[in-house]
Symmetry: C2
DNA sequence: CTATATGCAAACACTTTGCAGGCTC
DNA sequence: GAGCCTGCAAAGTGTTTGCATATAG
């Protein structure tokens, strides 16, 4: 099954490399700007293809849609519950970067997701409230 | 908003305590056996209620449906890609069990999910193949 | 009694798939 | 020109919600 170098594929790859941990919808919007009638199905198919061949990384988020990463190597992430953005969690090392046995379990991979407030949102909340507020908003809000 | 002690609520709690990290569908099936015409919506509503009041834990899986845990305190999990079961990952300590700052990020929680082969499935694969096989099946298979 | 909880079905968010036609190599 | 790729629409999964009714306290 040899791969073909289509415009759509290139645009999807570009979008993932340009945006900060976008989800499929954000990639779709970015690509649509350059090729208006692209289909969401094509975006999903190419995201999977690119992830499969190791050109991009796929991030399971647990909250909302999957995200995609210009960096394929697995690493830890941080999701801000206020602005919805996802950051690399440089403060914590990836556990078990290589397969190994632990207590009889064959550990092949590890997905680590921190959540809380990113520096910018934390500052905002501190100005408004005494403790760390509860407000949570989806990053979809600002179209 | 005072809580009421309904039969449905008790059955949902029982199911989560009895089953091993069930998803909503498994809870629904278990509860249906005792109260045939319960609604899936009621199961979902009660799972959220119980998680909110700290009676059970909610596990984000990234792969398929959310799971629920008789243990509310957050801890690391392991998901077997062959049988689909989820286990407690006692071999790895929960990172940052209490909120704290790291690099300016206010870290409130951390979700860690290991994946690979559980001891039983690993043994099976070793008997059949030289390396750790690729077969992956959903735990739904055995209805 | 009355607010909370329920069952039903429809809606919802995200993703995958079947198909006919288009494009890359 | 063969077959991978695309766009479209429909279907699939997992979950939430509106509404009328039932029930716990």
């Amino acid at each position: 099954m040899e791969r073909r170098n289509t415009l759509q594929r290139r645009l999807v790859l570009d979008a993932v490399r340009t945006l900060l941990h976008p989800d499929a919808e954000e990639v779709y919007r970015a690509v649509s700007a350059k090729k208006p009638n692209i289909s969401r199905a094509t975006v999903y198919r190419n995201l999977h293809l690119l992830a499969e061949e190791g050109a991009i990384g796929e991030i399971q988020t647990g909250e909302g849609a999957d995200r995609y990463d210009h960096e394929a190597r697995r690493h830890c992430h941080f999701r801000c519950r206020a602005c919805g953005k996802m950051y690399d969690a440089a403060f914590f090392p990836q556990p078990f970067p290589h397969p190994r046995y632990e207590d009889g379990f064959f550990v092949e991979s590890c997905n680590v997701e921190f959540a809380g407030l990113c520096p910018a949102c934390d500052k905002k909340y501190q100005n408004k409230e005494t403790d760390h507020g509860q407000a949570t908003q989806r990053h979809k809000d600002g179209g």
